[in-house]
């Protein structure tokens, strides 16, 4: 028993050491580079800044190009909130009916859900559709695209979770005279809260981090998202690595905060969604 505990300490210590080198050093590198002056950062060495310029760099990044980073954060926030809200409501409706009612359509719906997970979206034809309906290069267009691409994942999670809500509750509500809308939105949906939180958190991170979507469907400076601005920043702040890494740092913070507060839901969502997929 003691030998085992000693072994646990030794193996654990080694693992911690390795994890520091493999996983923490890159993040530490981001942090120290973001805190250096331009000259020092250009050396790209892994060392503590001789002069902490974290605040100056933050101000510089936020004011660069007329505050494009701030605008990008606003855009990304709007995009994330709207996309996730839409996706949660419509996917929950599907997952709910899909689980509750067995009909000959179920296999068809399931097939489409799986197809949605696996099939890579056809990019240029999607642009063509967006342009036809006048939503190309608009935030609403991007919201609809995000909601669509996230549907399958959410439906799977909701379908799995609805099965844990007892049917007796539905029946009680029906006897109370509830219609389908009231049954779903006031009885069932509140009971889905845990999975809603999971979906919201996981999809919020996904939408926030998405680069390909805005790259194709939301070009243009006015609508730039944080990922696009970061990408463009590379050529715009040439040899000002401190600012580039400050931007990376800023973009890393929201997921970090999410992770600290919703650790359990994220882990649950990633694994359960994955197992079903």
């Amino acid at each position: 028993m003691r030998a085992r505990r000693v072994r646990g300490v030794v193996v654990g210590a080694v693992a911690v050491l390795v994890s520091v080198v493999v996983f923490l050093v890159p993040f530490a590198f981001i942090l120290v580079t973001a805190a250096k002056t331009a000259e020092e950062a250009s050396l790209l060495s892994f060392s503590l800044p001789s002069e902490w310029a974290l605040w100056d760099n933050l101000v510089a990044v936020l004011t660069t190009r007329d505050g494009v980073v701030v605008r990008a954060f606003v855009n990304s926030t709007i995009l994330t909130v709207a996309s996730v809200a839409l996706m949660v409501v419509v996917a929950a409706m599907v997952g709910y009916v899909l689980q509750r009612r067995s009909s000959r359509w179920n296999p068809v719906v399931n097939f489409f859900v799986l197809a949605g997970l696996i099939v890579p979206p056809a990019v240029v034809p999607t642009i063509w559709v967006l342009q036809t309906i006048g939503l190309f290069k608009t935030i609403p267009g991007m919201v609809l695209i995000n909601a669509t691409f996230g549907l399958s994942f959410c439906v799977l999670l909701f379908r799995a979770f609805v099965s844990t809500v007892p049917r007796e509750l539905d029946e009680a509500a029906i006897i109370d005279g509830a219609g389908p809308m009231r049954l779903f939105f006031t009885v069932v949906l509140p009971l889905l809260k845990p999975v809603v939180i999971t979906v919201v958190v996981v999809q919020a991170v996904a939408v926030f981090n998405d680069f390909t979507g805005p790259l194709y469907f939301l070009p243009g400076d006015e609508n730039a998202t944080v990922q696009l601005t970061l990408y463009n920043f590379q050529s715009q702040v040439l040899s000002q690595w401190n600012l580039l890494f400050m931007d990376i740092l800023l973009i890393t913070l929201p997921p970090l905060v999410m992770y600290i507060f919703f650790n359990r839901q994220i882990v649950a969502g990633m694994t359960s969604g994955a197992v079903k997929g």
């Binding site: 911690v16 994890s19 809200a85 949660v88 949605g116 990019v123 240029v124 981090n209």
Partner: protein
């Protein structure tokens, strides 16, 4: 969220007034109305307009020379082009390499980390968090960071290797290494999910199996080989399927690190699609999409059937 729900509930109140008069639904018809098919409609509309229509349209546009305004039907020329140009063929081959390498490494490392993090060691909570966190970080941010860390001249990785007396390769700039290096970064970022899935799978294996086997005098290797490996098969299936879907479609990390370079040595289908799009070759880009579609489905269907069947057989 909250406001959406309440306003929807308010809308719901309207039709209810009439329905209240009727006796509550019972039998099949009652269930039907309580779980109405039109709940599929909003999602279905999104799916059809923004996913199904473009997907089907892509089969037509792939056969055209297309400027978004003008369409000229040119038959299979785009596909001929796709498989004639060495750079496009290379992207095709690279896609398989990338998907295979990332999946294999995620399975091996994910299982190893899963085993480590379910064993009796200290700091498990910290280790789980730290392995998983990169999953949540922006791919672009990670790409840029590693581009700097892996710089052959003055990058942290090669400097450290040099301190150990090893001359590191030009990770992202040497044609022989570029694609593999990007795959490694992909694994670094994505191994956390594989680990989590394996942890869930490993925890679900009843301890009695191990105890019984140990009583029979099984070695650790035998325990792993005869109990762990077969029983985490569902987790392995999930990891393989997920990594392949991600790996075959991968674009962001490659674009953030090498943009397919040097030359075309790290191009994959998804980056070729983007380059053709950028150049205004919309038909050719869409043909690339169809190729990707075929590749992904052609691989994913047999892989999922194979992995799932074996699981059922047992």
């Amino acid at each position: 969220m909250a406001s959406t729900t309440t306003s929807a509930a308010r809308v719901a109140a309207l039709p209810r007034a009439t329905r209240l008069e009727e006796p509550p639904g019972h039998g099949r018809g009652g269930i039907r109305t309580m779980y109405p098919s039109w709940f599929y409609l909003p999602a279905g509309a999104l799916y059809v307009v923004f996913f199904a229509v473009p997907t089907f349209a892509s089969f037509y546009f792939a056969l055209t020379r297309w400027t978004l305004f003008d369409v000229e039907f040119i038959g299979l020329d785009n596909f001929v082009q796709f498989f004639q140009e060495p750079q496009l063929v290379q992207g095709f081959v690279n896609t398989f390499f990338y998907g295979f390498v990332t999946s294999a490494l995620k399975v091996v490392l994910g299982l190893a980390l899963g085993l480590l993090l379910t064993s009796q060691i200290i700091a498990r909570g910290y280790l789980r968090s730290v392995v998983f966190f990169p999953v949540l970080v922006s791919t672009i941010g990670i790409g840029i960071t590693f581009k700097v860390l892996l710089d052959p001249f003055g990058g942290l990785v090669n400097e450290s290797l040099a301190a150990l007396g090893i001359t590191g390769p030009g990770w992202l700039t040497d044609p022989a290494w570029a694609l593999f290096s990007v795959a490694l970064i992909d694994v670094w970022k994505g191994v956390g999910i594989a680990t989590l899935i394996y942890i869930a799978g490993l925890v679900a294996i009843p301890q009695e199996y191990y105890e019984a086997a140990r009583v029979d005098g099984a070695t650790s290797w035998q325990l792993f080989r005869r109990i762990t490996l077969p029983l985490v098969r569902p987790a392995t299936a999930t990891v393989v399927v997920l990594s392949l879907i991600g790996g075959l479609r991968s674009f962001e990390l490659i674009w953030a690190t090498t943009r397919g370079g040097p030359g075309f040595t790290s191009d994959v289908i998804a980056s070729v699609i983007y380059k053709q799009y950028q150049a205004g070759f919309y038909g050719l880009s869409t043909a690339g999409n169809v190729v990707l579609f075929v590749v992904v489905t052609a691989i994913m269907i047999p892989v999922s059937i194979l992995l799932n069947r074996k699981e059922v057989d047992r």
